[in-house]
């Protein structure tokens, strides 16, 4: 199962994968124990001529044991994922001072990327708009101002382990730091109409030098 996960290329992605693995092994063990017990019972206690079932109404001790055991496990799992969750989604825990800031806006059926340009401010003359192409440097903190123009879309980069819905008239801050160069797909993950399937952008993670060259090409001064 685990080998099907797409390659991870974000700093926080490893943490997500770790939790995934922990849950995977816990649930696998529980599954094997429960199914094993079930199968053993089915074989051992199948109806046989002359044999009667044993009258057992229950056991308070057992009820307490398994209630406590499952509570501890799920409680532990929740505690384990809080730091991870906050690291990914809580704006006040984001690394400050991003190297790159981009506004990404979903609209039927494209991703519009708006770069603030040299003044680092959106809504000015030197802004650059690109359709479906996002360019970022590797090993750099990227902040995205995520929004939508019409309906809800969802910004999903499987390799970043990142998904965030984009809502009209709402600006949601998202961050990531990619650790590997390459070209990755940005599918839309929330049903947004008949063009939802195939609504696709690209995340281009460049080496710092390539990124600098790209910036230079766009804003020549």
């Amino acid at each position: 199962m685990l080998q099907w996960l797409p390659e991870n290329i974000s700093t926080f992605g490893q943490g997500v994968d770790n939790i995934f693995h922990i849950i995977y092994y816990i649930t696998l063990v529980v599954f094997i124990l429960v199914m094993g017990t079930l199968i053993i019972f089915l074989i051992k206690y199948r109806h046989q001529a002359g044999q009667k079932a044993t009258y057992i109404e229950g056991s308070t001790t057992l009820e307490i044991v398994w209630t406590a055991a499952t509570t501890v496990i799920v409680f532990g799992l929740a505690m384990l994922s809080y730091p991870q969750w906050n690291q990914i989604k809580s704006p006040n825990e984001f690394p400050a001072n991003p190297d790159v800031l981009v506004q990404v806006s979903g609209k039927q059926f494209n991703w519009d990327m708006t770069y603030p340009g040299p003044d680092n401010e959106l809504g000015t003359d030197d802004d650059l708009e690109l359709e479906n192409e996002l360019h970022v440097p590797v090993n750099a903190v990227v902040h995205i101002r995520l929004t939508a123009e019409d309906v809800i879309h969802s910004f999903f980069v499987p390799q970043l382990r990142l998904k965030q819905d984009a809502l009209p008239n709402r600006f949601i801050n998202v961050w990531f730091e990619a650790t590997k160069t390459g070209r990755y797909e940005i599918p839309c993950a929330e049903l947004c109409g008949f063009g939802h399937s195939g609504m696709l952008g690209y995340l281009n993670v460049h080496s710092q030098a390539d990124y600098d060259a790209w910036v230079k090409e766009r804003w020549p001064q």
Binding site: M1, V16, F31, Y55, S81, D150, F156, F194
Partner: protein, 608 residues
């Protein structure tokens, strides 16, 4: 006595009042069952259509889709180029040509197919069968009374459901097509025709669900009143069979949850028809798309427990009967259901982890969601405990119950992944969710339904279903079900989004084509297997082996009534209850079952 008078009236009933506008809870229950089975085929058919598209994107669907043009030229052009065009000028064209140009399912039609598949399965199959059919048939019989508290309301509940189904069906044929915003109907997509091109389809969807909501509301008032007021003498709450407990709790959930959906639907209709903006955000102000999600899931999460609790109840009846043992931990089973019913109200946010809701709020929902796994685990362990040292008979209803338990385990465990907000960030809106849904609702609820139908069929129709066909149906369904839905976990882990009509548009999903074909072939097998069940069901009604009064040797009261059950249910006075429902293999007794009507100190005779 009033009761006997009631019973003797039934000779004079006309065909219409006996079979169509019947006030008898048993007839209404059977009506709901047949209604659900018919809708099961509609919903299943839609799923098979879109499964074809997923396995063979952009290829014409066989039989219906083999258009003349394709047959002649062998060439297909996709409908994608004509999409916008289609939305603004639809009229003249023929239905099939619009939705499946050249026999290929075009994307807007695809969206409509999965939307209607889920809508029908949730609102028109599983709830009507579990709550409408089993609730109506079983409650009066199992608590020992002659009918529901409000028979006329009961009849109304069924005919409202029929009206809702008719309105839902009309939606398929209006210009612009049926609702295509998912069964969850997220706004603003659902709130304004300009985003989908769907006009009256979405309106009818909302109106139909409003009516279906009234139907459930009326039904649940009836169930609650009946269970509280009309139990047979001696039938204390803690002597009630667990399936009655589950239906009681479900009725309360429905009573409280459906009005929330109804209000949301009403607001949606206002948005669409009266120009309000409850669910749309504009720069000038207005409402909020997240409001829809909160309202929908505040209803939706209790609703998913409505889908499973009666299934748990049915399994809790069948497992003791066929293990010839009392249910393990009766009280803890009841308390677990009550706990689920309470916790079910405070977990809805787990559907919205990635919605833009405050992350801190997400943390709180993560904890409550984790906790709701606990009562589910308790129930599973108790079912295992029931089989421990039992004398297990592998009858068809028991096979379905065992399948129910094992599939529910998988569905519950996959829930743990999604309850983890950071992990959910990856698998949300992927096929992982689809796998989870189907393991709990098909693997859970439907297996329980199949088991329940086979188990109570003798009481409903006075005959047995054919056992060979039942076994074939069971094994085919069990294998095909797992082949269909287990691989979806893998698709989800690979990042395969749900609700996309052509996965081959994505580079990172190229490797999954083969798996999608495998899933589709399994799905067709699964669909075909259900034909066996339906054939068996209708054939056995008139041709099955005649059943005796209590063929499975069960303790509960429905088996005290004669077969077929007369109007008024019990001959003579209603039974008096002396003991709990699961007295199987009591030490020192000769018979391995003691009916609930057996007085405490009389020698056990095993009923009749």
């Amino acid at each position: 006595m009033h009761d006997n008078e009631h019973a003797s009236h039934h000779h004079e009933e006309s065909f219409i009042s006996k079979y169509i506008f019947s006030l008898d809870h048993k007839t209404i229950g059977k009506q709901f069952l047949i209604y659900g089975l018919i809708m099961f085929f509609v919903g299943g058919g839609l799923a098979l259509l879109f499964r074809w598209q997923l396995a063979y994107p952009e290829r014409p669907v066989p039989i219906i889709g083999a258009s003349e043009k394709y047959m002649e030229e062998g060439e297909v052009t996709t409908g994608a180029d004509k999409m916008w065009e289609r939305i603004y000028e639809t009229d003249e064209e023929e239905w099939l040509e619009v939705n499946m140009p050249n026999g290929v399912i075009e994307p807007a039609f695809y969206n409509m197919l999965f939307t209607m598949h889920a809508t029908i399965m949730v609102f028109f199959v599983v709830v009507p069968i579990l709550v409408g059919a089993f609730g109506n048939f079983l409650i009066p019989l199992m608590i020992g009374t002659r009918d529901m508290a409000f028979p006329i309301l009961n009849m109304l509940s069924f005919w409202l459901a029929v009206l809702a189904a008719i309105i839902m069906a009309i939606g398929f044929f209006v210009p612009g097509g049926h609702a295509a915003a998912g069964w969850t109907g997220y706004a603003p997509l659902s709130a304004d025709p300009q985003w989908t091109g769907v006009d009256w389809g979405q309106n009818l969807w909302a109106i139909s669900l409003l009516i279906q909501g009234f139907s459930s509301l009326v039904g649940s008032i009836n169930y609650i009143t009946t269970i509280i007021n009309m139990r047979a003498p001696g039938m204390t709450l803690f002597r009630m069979p667990l399936v009655i407990w589950s239906l009681f709790i479900v009725a309360i959930l429905l009573l409280l949850a459906f009005p929330v959906l109804s209000s949301a639907l009403a607001l949606l209709i206002f948005d669409r028809l009266a120009g309000t903006t409850f669910f749309t955000a504009t720069a000038e102000g207005g409402g909020d798309p997240l409001l829809w999600q909160h309202l929908f899931w505040f209803f939706g999460h209790p609703e998913v427990y409505v889908l499973i609790l009666p299934g748990m109840g049915i399994a809790s009846e069948l497992i003791p009967v066929f293990s010839r043992k009392p249910i393990f931990g009766y009280r803890s089973m009841v308390y677990a259901m009550i706990a689920i019913a309470f916790l079910g109200w405070i977990v809805w946010g787990h559907h919205m982890f990635q919605s833009g809701m405050q992350p801190t709020l997400g943390s709180a929902f993560m904890m409550t969601t984790m906790l709701i796994a606990v009562p589910s685990a308790i129930k599973t362990f108790n079912w295992l405990g029931t089989m421990y040292k039992g004398s297990i008979q592998f009858t068809s209803p028991m096979l379905h119950s065992i399948a129910f338990v094992s599939m529910f385990v998988i569905g519950g465990l996959s829930g743990i992944y999604m309850a983890n907000a950071p992990v959910d960030g990856f698998i949300h809106d992927t096929y992982y969710i689809v796998a989870h849904i189907h393991y709990v609702v098909f693997g859970g609820s439907l297996f329980a339904i199949f088991g329940g139908i086979i188990f109570w069929f003798p009481k409903m129709y006075g005959r047995h279903m054919n056992d060979v066909l039942n076994k074939i149906h069971f094994w085919l369904t069990f294998v095909a079900f797992n082949c269909t839905f287990f691989p979806m976990h893998i698709l989800g882990v690979g990042g395969h989004m749900r609700r996309i009509s052509n996965p081959m548009q994505y580079e990172f999903l190229q490797g999954f084509q083969g798996m999608n074909i495998f899933i589709t072939m399994s799905a067709f097998t699964l669909g075909a297997a259900q034909l066996i069940l339906v054939f068996n069901f209708f054939w056995s009604m008139s041709r099955g082996k005649v059943a005796e009064k209590n063929p499975w040797h069960v303790n509960t009261l429905e088996w005290e009534a004669p077969t077929p059950v007369p109007h008024g249910n019990f001959v003579g006075p209603v039974p008096t209850v002396y003991r709990g429902p699961y007295e199987y293999s009591v030490p020192g007794e000769e018979s391995d079952w003691i009916p609930q009507v057996q007085p405490e100190h009389a020698p056990a005779t095993g009923g009749d």
